[in-house]
Amino acid sequence: MTINIVLAILVTSFATYISRFLGVITSKKIKETSKIFKWFNCLAYSTLSALLARIVFFPAGALAEVDYFIRLIVIFICLIVFLISKKNFVYPTVLSALLLTILSANF
């Protein structure tokens, strides 16, 4: 390991906090009924969705070791469980971990 772990943690925290901090400064001038607020709401959801796409298709870490076809099948099955369970978050999340553990151990 070439760099100090504590320094890396501090740098990571700082890089993360900046966006939150700038968000508070900007939000001071924005009214919740304004168009800009609505626009930022769209930006928030689309940015999250872009992040999700990146995690699913170009993952880092453990997920990268599974075939992307298996990843997509697990997500698709869990999404269906989510929809038929009247949008319960517990069933699909628990199921996903079990399903992928079994699939990655056997394929």
Binding site: M1, I3, S13, K38, K87
Partner: protein, 234 residues
């Protein structure tokens, strides 16, 4: 300074059926185990989750430590992947504004911005009196951060018992939770477009720049969705 009643009301949101607790716990168990495997000690692991409290950012830090990236590289990569907190804060904090709350409290409370807590607040804010929304938010955030910290410590201690397949199983929980949340949010044309276009542009922009794809993809998709939604409303 903080209204206890509203703080606790927010804190116990973590127990509801649509709570992110399971996804959060599973993801941070994996982070705790990963931290141990790359040589962090328990204090550093807890310290990291407590201070950063953002999953993709922590993953990037861990990977950078493995490959020995420079601090500047870590800074830029983490900043880019966590820049989503900027629009998230701007689309939440105006709802929490009240003159009676000290300004400094907002700067401290913004640390709790993360997908999990943000979603709970977006869903529940109307049911909370405006004056106490910030206290409620701090409760929601504190509960989520506590889950993340506990899970990191738990993951660190059980790391030796987790095999590769289990780590992979844990890693899928967060994307699945994320997918369910995004689909659940698609209630208007504008929101549906923001989610669908964000997903498509996120992939497309990856081929242009893997580092900037979240930011560029999100910005393009969100702006397109906003204007299409507005035109449609008129």
């Amino acid at each position: 300074m903080i209204n206890t009643k509203y703080f606790l009301k927010g804190f116990f949101c973590i127990k509801s059926a649509d709570s992110p607790a399971i996804a959060l716990f599973a993801s941070f168990i994996a982070i705790g185990a990963l931290f141990k495997s790359i040589g962090l000690n328990i204090q550093e692991s807890i310290f990291s989750t407590l201070l950063t409290y953002a999953l993709p950012g922590s993953l990037i830090m861990a990977e950078s430590l493995i490959v020995g990236a420079s601090l500047l590289n870590i800074f830029l990569a983490v900043w880019l992947v966590n820049a989503r907190f900027y629009p998230m804060t701007v689309s939440l904090f105006p709802l929490l504004k009240h003159n009676s709350q000290p300004k400094l409290k907002y700067y401290l409370a913004c640390h709790f911005i993360a997908v999990s807590a943000w979603l709970i607040m977006k869903k529940n804010y109307k049911s909370v009196e405006r004056k106490y929304r910030l206290d409620y938010w701090i409760g929601v955030g504190a509960a989520n951060l506590s889950v993340a910290v506990l899970a990191t410590a738990f993951g660190f201690f059980i790391a030796d018992y987790l095999n590769k397949d289990m780590m992979i199983g844990l890693a899928i929980v967060n994307p699945v939770y994320f997918t369910c949340v995004m689909v659940g949010a698609m209630k208007t044309i504008q929101m549906s477009l923001a989610v669908i276009l964000g997903f498509i542009f996120g992939i497309l922009f990856y081929f242009v720049s893997p580092e900037w794809c979240i930011l560029f993809g999100g910005f393009t998709a969100g702006t397109l969705a906003f204007f299409t939604g507005e035109l449609n409303d008129n």
